[in-house]
């Protein structure tokens, strides 16, 4: 397919869709699937056949629509209404041409003007909920692969890199390294063989942004990677995806096949001289493989153990070749940047953090789900306007950055969310998991939970992380049992310093963060556990209480 043919195909598909009476989008992301979206989809499909509407009503699956707490979700394009908690019994009303019939669904209509939607800005998730992730034509109709076409026909690799640099996009995996600089570094490397790797080993507990993007809009990630391959001079890409993400793997496989068939990937892409292949590598359950050097070891078929940097992957990565590693959300931002220009992207966000950030809202919050906001939005807006606040009880802390992040207390709710501000208040942006805790959550127990996570996921290569996480967990565990002393807090701080400064990779270096941030903001809870053998949240079972109960 040439670029002209691609444009023709887009027009053709858009016209076809406009000619339809209705398109019913049924959310088929993992969230809705686990509350019955599959059966619902079959019921709607059967209903379309029963009413004989195959010609003018189309049923499509779609990516995550965001409000996972109200699943399964269905969007009726004709009246632009989103329904939550839809049951198979509602299929007839959904398909019906009679507006009166849909009235039975009115009570489950979700207000699209509510703050949950109006306060969001969707760049990465623009297609999620509107495009069927299993249909290439749908993605093309939404302007898909136009950016790749533009890059191949009207830009040089250097132009692309410059545009990405201008956009101010920073890595969305957590550390926030400027993407454009990384691309430039790889582009400038002399060796002929280079690789582009998409890090889809999303492992933070409480984070499901990348999974949603891969499930909901896989072609966008492929397109972003192909543009990256063109810019840095690579012909081979790998997507390293978590083994737990079965649906994402399946959708990616489908998408890669579709794209290869239409010459959007593979040899002679869009009839140009550029070739780029993408292969999937399925992870096997090791959190540490999200660290880039461990990820490289894993793709090479080895134990996922990190190695010292420098050399950094742009100089020496996969099989010693220059390697560009970005995460899913970073690649998903590339097509719109190439299409609309770096300046457009840079107009969203704050001075140092450009664009938007996708967050996965979970925990004690009304609207659990997937959202995307401009950088610089305050936590208060995210949690209370978009998230709908705390269902019952009182807000205590928001946890960002997973096991590498920290707990943010109420006094910082008006902090704008960007890379620097979050570091200032003792947390990190992380990959986008945002977990809300109320007064029933014990912060010592939360710290213990994350330390247990790091202990289990430590690869064991370096001593501070392997043995240090065990000791820190031991102390925290004793605290939650009422079996710790003041000296233990001091040792916790000493060990935190050791892990932070001497661990080989990011996992060990950031493992103390949840402990440090809770010690900073919730020290009184630690002290209550130690001095009074009491858990203020009433969660921890103290040994003394157990003994009393026994006696």
């Amino acid at each position: 397919m040439t670029f002209e043919e691609l444009c023709g195909k887009q027009t053709e598909e858009v016209e076809r869709q406009q000619a339809l009476k209705n398109r019913i989008m049924c959310c088929t992301a993992a969230g809705c699937l686990s509350c019955g979206a599959d059966g619902l989809r079959q019921a709607i499909s059967a209903e379309i056949a029963a009413q004989g509407r195959q010609a003018d009503v189309e049923l499509c699956g779609s990516g995550c629509m965001g409000m996972c707490s109200r699943g399964p979700l269905v969007l009726s394009a004709a009246c632009n209404r989103l329904y939550g908690n839809v049951a198979p019994a509602d299929a007839a009303a959904l398909v019906s041409a009679d507006p009166a019939a849909t009235e039975t669904l009115a009570d489950r209509a979700i207000d699209l003007d509510s703050p949950f939607f109006s306060k969001q800005t969707r760049i990465v998730l623009a297609n999620s909920g509107h495009v069927d992730p299993e249909k290439l034509a749908d993605y093309i109709a939404a302007g898909g692969y136009q950016s790749l076409g533009k890059a191949l026909t009207a830009m040089s690799p250097r132009d692309v890199v410059e545009e990405v640099k201008k956009s101010g996009l920073r890595g969305r995996g957590g550390a926030g390294y400027p993407t454009g600089l990384k691309w430039e570094l790889v582009m400038k490397q002399i060796p002929q063989v280079k690789y582009v790797v998409c890090n889809a080993d999303e492992g933070d507990p409480g984070a499901f942004m990348d999974r949603s993007v891969l499930e909901g809009d896989p072609h966008r990630v492929l397109e972003g990677m192909a543009i990256a391959g063109f810019a840095v001079g690579a012909q081979q890409g790998f997507i390293y995806v978590r083994g737990e993400y079965g649906l994402a793997i399946q959708r990616l496989q489908t998408a890669i096949k579709q794209a290869e068939r239409e010459h959007l990937l593979g040899a002679r892409i869009l009839d140009s001289g550029f070739q780029f292949r993408i292969d999937l590598r399925v992870g096997a359950g090791a959190f540490v493989c999200g660290e880039e050097t461990a990820l490289i070891a894993s793709i090479e078929g080895k134990r996922g153990e990190p190695r010292q940097r420098p050399p950094y992957p742009p100089e020496s990565g996969l099989w010693g070749a220059p390697t560009l590693i970005n995460n899913v959300e970073t690649f998903a931002n590339i097509p719109p940047i190439v299409q609309n220009g770096g300046d457009w992207f840079a107009s969203v966000g704050t001075a140092s953090s450009k664009g938007t950030k996708v967050f996965a809202l979970a925990g004690k919050i009304v609207n659990t789900g997937l959202i995307e906001v401009p950088m610089g939005t305050t936590l208060r807006t995210i949690l209370f306007d978009i998230g709908g606040g705390i269902p019952e009880g009182k807000f205590k802390a928001a946890q960002t950055g997973g096991p590498s992040g920290g707990c943010i207390p109420e006094q910082f709710l008006d902090t704008p969310v960007d890379y620097e501000s979050l570091v200032t208040i003792g947390s990190i942006m992380g990959s986008g998991g945002l977990i809300v805790m109320d007064d029933k959550s014990c912060m010592v127990d939360v710290a213990r939970f994350f330390m247990e996570f790091c202990m289990d996921e430590s690869c064991g290569k370096c001593i501070p992380c392997r043995a240090g996480t065990v000791q820190m967990h031991d102390i925290l565990h004793r605290m939650t049992r009422g079996d710790a002393t003041e000296d233990d807090i001091e040792m916790l701080e000493t060990l935190s310093g050791l892990l932070r400064e001497t661990s080989l990779c990011g996992l060990g270096q950031t493992a103390p963060n949840p402990v440090m941030s809770t010690l900073k903001y919730f020290r009184d809870e630690y002290e209550a556990h130690i001095r009074e053998r009491r858990c203020p949240a009433g969660l921890c079972q103290m040994e003394s209480q157990l003994e009393e109960a026994m006696a």
Binding site: S34, P205, G206, F208, T368, G369
Partner: protein, 163 residues
């Protein structure tokens, strides 16, 4: 007693499929993890004899193959039970009371990390399955259950004959 003919056919087929997977990667040692994935899909787990075959075919030292297989939690070196419960212990599920689910399974005699335990139920815990919006999540025989409750577990256990 000799194996019945149909079983033998299945076995031959699996060997062939594994061979095909290895040849697809030109028997490269770099593809060890992909090959282990395929082997586990075919055989359900990775017994020593299978690891030895893989090491031999990919021309890798046996200790390295076991080193890799034991590093990744996806790979099981023991046979799996007939029914598997995976309780998600990600942050969101933890905050939403996933420990209650573990306790419910615990009471039935099945312990986390156990495999082929009492009545052939295996209980595993996962580090976030990415279904945080549906916390607490439970994967029962491959199907994700949203907002799982101890009652649901109790009902399921009763259904499969575990008291």
């Amino acid at each position: 007693m000799t194996a019945s003919p149909p079983a033998a056919t299945v076995k031959d087929n699996r060997e062939k499929l594994l061979e095909r997977a290895m040849s697809r990667y030109q028997y490269s040692g770099d593809a060890l993890i992909e090959v282990l994935h395929t082997a586990q899909e075919l055989y359900g787990f990775l017994p020593p004899a299978l690891l030895k075959t893989i090491a031999h075919k990919l021309r890798l030292p046996a200790s390295r193959v076991l080193g890799v297989a034991s590093f990744y939690h996806f790979f099981s070196l023991q046979p799996k039970a007939a029914h598997t419960f995976v309780v998600c212990l990600g942050t969101a599920c933890y905050v939403a009371g996933a420990l209650g689910l573990v306790e419910a399974l615990d009471r039935s005699g099945a312990k986390p990390g156990s495999s082929g335990a009492k009545n052939d139920v295996s209980v595993q815990t996962a580090r976030c399955i990415g279904a945080c919006g549906l916390a607490p999540a439970l994967i029962y025989d491959g199907v994700v259950h949203a907002r799982a409750t101890p009652q649901l577990i109790k009902a399921e256990l009763e259904r499969i004959g575990v008291k």
